[in-house]
Symmetry: C2
Subunit: 349 residues, 2 copies
C-alpha cells in the first residue's frame, strides 16, 4: 500500500469510527422512541400522545435545556375520572352509602333520621337528590370512629365484592389502561408517581398499590385526623376521627402536594375543575411541565358529560367552559377519550 | 473402573454437587454478614449494633418467619438528638431566634414587644428563660406569612452560614456518622427511610436530601398549612400560614406517620419522650420490629443529659426514667453514645 493510500485509508477509518458513537446514539434514540411508542399502545397517534412522548423525551435527555434530574421527577394524578370511572357517583360515596345499614345497626338511633333514613329507603331518586351536606354527614358517620386497621379491612372487603351498576364488574376493573400505561411509562423514565385525589386518602390507599402500582405513602387525598390511644391491654391503636385535616380538592390540591410531597410536580393529570389549581401550580414552574385533562366525550364506551362540550353538567367531575378556556390559553393538553384512546377499559375489544 | 467404584464416585459427585448450593449460600451469607459489619464501621460491637444486624438479617431473609416484603420495609427516624445534635437548643429554634431582627425590620411594631424585645436584647440568660408560649410566638412570626419558595431560600441560606456555638461548625456537620450508616444500611436492604421529626417539616426538607439522602416527601414533621393564591400577574403561589396542621411530637408522631406514610414502620429510632408513641406504635406490629433510643451519655464528645442517667434534665430531648423503664420492659434497645459509637462526629479521631 502506498503511503498516500494508507493515509486515505487511515482517514476513512478515523472518520468512520468518529461517526460511530453518533450513529449508535441515533440508533439508541430511535429504538428508545419505538419502545416509548409501544408503551403507549392504547393511545392513538395525536397531540395528546405526542405531548406525553415529547415531555418525557426532553425532561430525561441530559442534553436538553429542559432536563430534570431523576431525584426531582414528580408526577401527580387525580383519581376519579382521571384514572378510573367516576360515574354515576364517586366510588367512595358508593362505599359509604352501602355501609349505612351496618352503621345504623350499630347506632339504631340513626334509623329514622335523615339522611340515613333516605339511604335505607333504597329510593334511588331520593338518594340522588341528597345534598352535599347530607353526603358529608354520611361520610363522617361511615368513615370515622373505628381503628385504622378495621377501616382498612372493611374497605378492602368492599372493594373486592362491590360491583359497578352499569358494567356489573368490580370498580377496580374500571381503570383506564391508557392511563396505566402513562403511569408505567413515567415510572420507567424515573418519575415518582403520586395520586392526588379529592377522595379519601385511607380509602384509595387500600388498593392503590395493587391497581396502580402506587404505594400508600404516594397517595395524597382528603384526610381526616386520627387519635392515638391504648386498649385495655395497653396496646396502642389509632382511631379515625371526624376532624378534617386536608380537603384535597381545588386549592387543597397544591396545598396537599406541598404538605405531603414538598415540591412542585413536573407533570399533572386531572379531569375537572377540582384539578384546576393543581395544573396551574404545576404549570407555573420553570422548564417543561406536562398539564393534561381527560375529557369524558365517549358516551358509547364510557360517559359524555360537562358543559365544555355542550353536554349535560354532572354532579361529579365538572369540566366547565371556563376550565376548557384556561386549558387552551395556558397550553394544557385535553385528552379526548373518544379520539385519543384505542380502548377505555381492558375488556374493550 | 469397577461398577462399584463408579457408583461410589457418582454418589460422591452427586452428594458434593448437592451441597454446593448450600455451600455457596453459606459463603454468600458469610460475605454478606461481613459486608454488613463493614457498613456499620462507626459502631462498637455490642447489643445495639447486634440488634440492627439481627433485625436486617431476619426481615430480609426469605426463609425467615419474620421476612418483610421489600415494598413494606419502612423505617422512621426522629431527627433532633437522634440524627444530629439538639443541644443547647433545637437547630430550628436557633434559626427562628436569629431571624427575629429581620422580622422586626419588616414589622417595627414588634421591636419593643415581648418576646421579640428579649431576643433583640441579646441577653442569653433571658433568652434561655423564654417560655414555650414565647417560643411559639417567635416561631409563628418567623416561619409564616411568606411564599414557600422564599422560606426555602431563606432557610437554605441560613443553614449554609450558621454555626453551632460550641463547635463553630455548620449544623449539618453535627450529624452522627453511626446513624448515617444505619440509614444507608437499611436503604441498601430495601428499607425506605423517613424522618419523623417534631421540627418543622419545611425546614428539615431544605437539607434532608443532601445531609441524610432523604427526599422531601419522606420528611414528616410539624407542619403548618399553606394558602393558595395568585399574584398581580395571575401567577399562583403558596403562602405559609400560622395554622397548625400536624404537631409531630408524642402521639402526633404515629398520627403523622398514618397521615403521611399510611403504614406502620418496622423500625423506629428516637431519643426522647417525644418519640415514645412512635416506638410503641412500631413495636405493636407483628413480627420483628426494631425500636431504638439514643442515650446522650457522652459529655466529652457530645453531651450528657436526662434523668434516666441521674443527669440534669434538659429543655430538649427529655429521656426520663419512665421512658427508660418502658424501653427495658418492651425490649427497645438503648444506644449508648459513649459505649456503642466509635465516633460521634465525622471530625472525631
Amino acid at each position: 500500500m502506498s503511503s498516500k493510500s494508507a493515509n486515505i485509508t487511515r482517514r476513512l477509518v478515523v472518520s468512520t469510527l468518529a461517526t460511530l458513537p453518533m450513529l449508535a446514539a441515533r440508533l439508541t434514540t430511535a429504538a428508545q422512541a419505538q419502545a416509548s411508542e409501544n408503551q403507549l399502545s392504547s393511545w392513538n397517534d395525536g397531540p395528546a400522545k405526542q405531548a406525553i412522548l415529547d415531555f418525557v423525551r426532553v425532561t430525561t435527555d441530559q442534553a436538553s435545556s429542559n432536563f430534570v434530574p431523576p431525584s426531582e421527577r414528580i408526577a401527580t394524578f387525580d383519581q376519579d375520572g382521571t384514572l378510573w370511572v367516576e360515574h354515576p357517583m364517586y366510588t367512595q360515596v358508593m362505599y359509604c352509602l352501602e355501609r349505612v345499614p351496618e352503621v345504623v345497626e350499630q347506632k339504631p338511633e340513626l334509623k329514622n333520621v335523615a339522611p340515613f333514613k333516605t339511604v335505607l329507603s333504597g329510593d334511588r331518586e331520593a338518594i340522588a337528590k341528597l345534598s352535599l351536606r347530607d353526603l358529608e354527614e354520611i361520610l363522617a358517620a361511615t368513615l370515622t370512629g373505628m381503628p385504622v386497621e378495621e377501616f382498612e379491612a372493611e374497605a378492602k372487603k368492599w372493594i373486592e365484592t362491590a360491583r359497578h351498576p352499569r358494567w356489573k364488574r368490580p370498580y377496580t376493573d374500571l381503570v383506564y389502561p391508557p392511563m396505566l400505561e402513562v403511569l408505567r411509562f413515567l415510572r420507567d423514565n424515573g418519575y415518582k408517581t403520586f395520586i392526588v385525589t379529592g377522595g379519601g386518602q385511607d380509602f384509595v390507599r387500600v388498593y392503590a398499590q395493587q391497581v396502580y402500582g402506587i404505594p400508600p405513602e404516594q397517595v395524597v387525598g382528603t384526610a381526616a385526623g386520627t387519635k392515638y390511644g391504648y386498649d385495655k391491654e395497653g396496646k396502642p391503636f389509632l382511631t379515625k376521627e371526624p376532624k378534617l385535616l386536608l380537603n384535597d380538592n381545588d386549592a387543597g390540591k397544591p396545598e396537599g402536594i406541598h404538605m405531603m410531597i414538598g415540591r412542585r410536580p413536573h407533570a399533572a393529570f386531572g379531569n375537572s375543575t377540582g384539578d384546576r389549581e393543581m395544573l396551574e401550580w404545576t404549570g407555573a414552574g420553570d422548564g417543561a411541565r406536562l398539564k393534561m385533562l381527560v375529557l369524558h366525550d365517549d358516551a358509547a364506551r364510557e360517559y359524555a358529560y360537562g358543559p365544555a362540550q355542550g353536554l349535560p353538567d354532572s354532579k361529579v367531575g365538572t369540566f366547565t367552559s371556563a376550565l376548557y378556556d384556561e386549558a387552551k390559553k395556558d397550553g394544557w393538553t385535553v385528552i379526548s377519550m373518544k379520539n385519543d384512546w384505542k380502548r377505555v377499559f381492558s375488556f374493550d375489544q
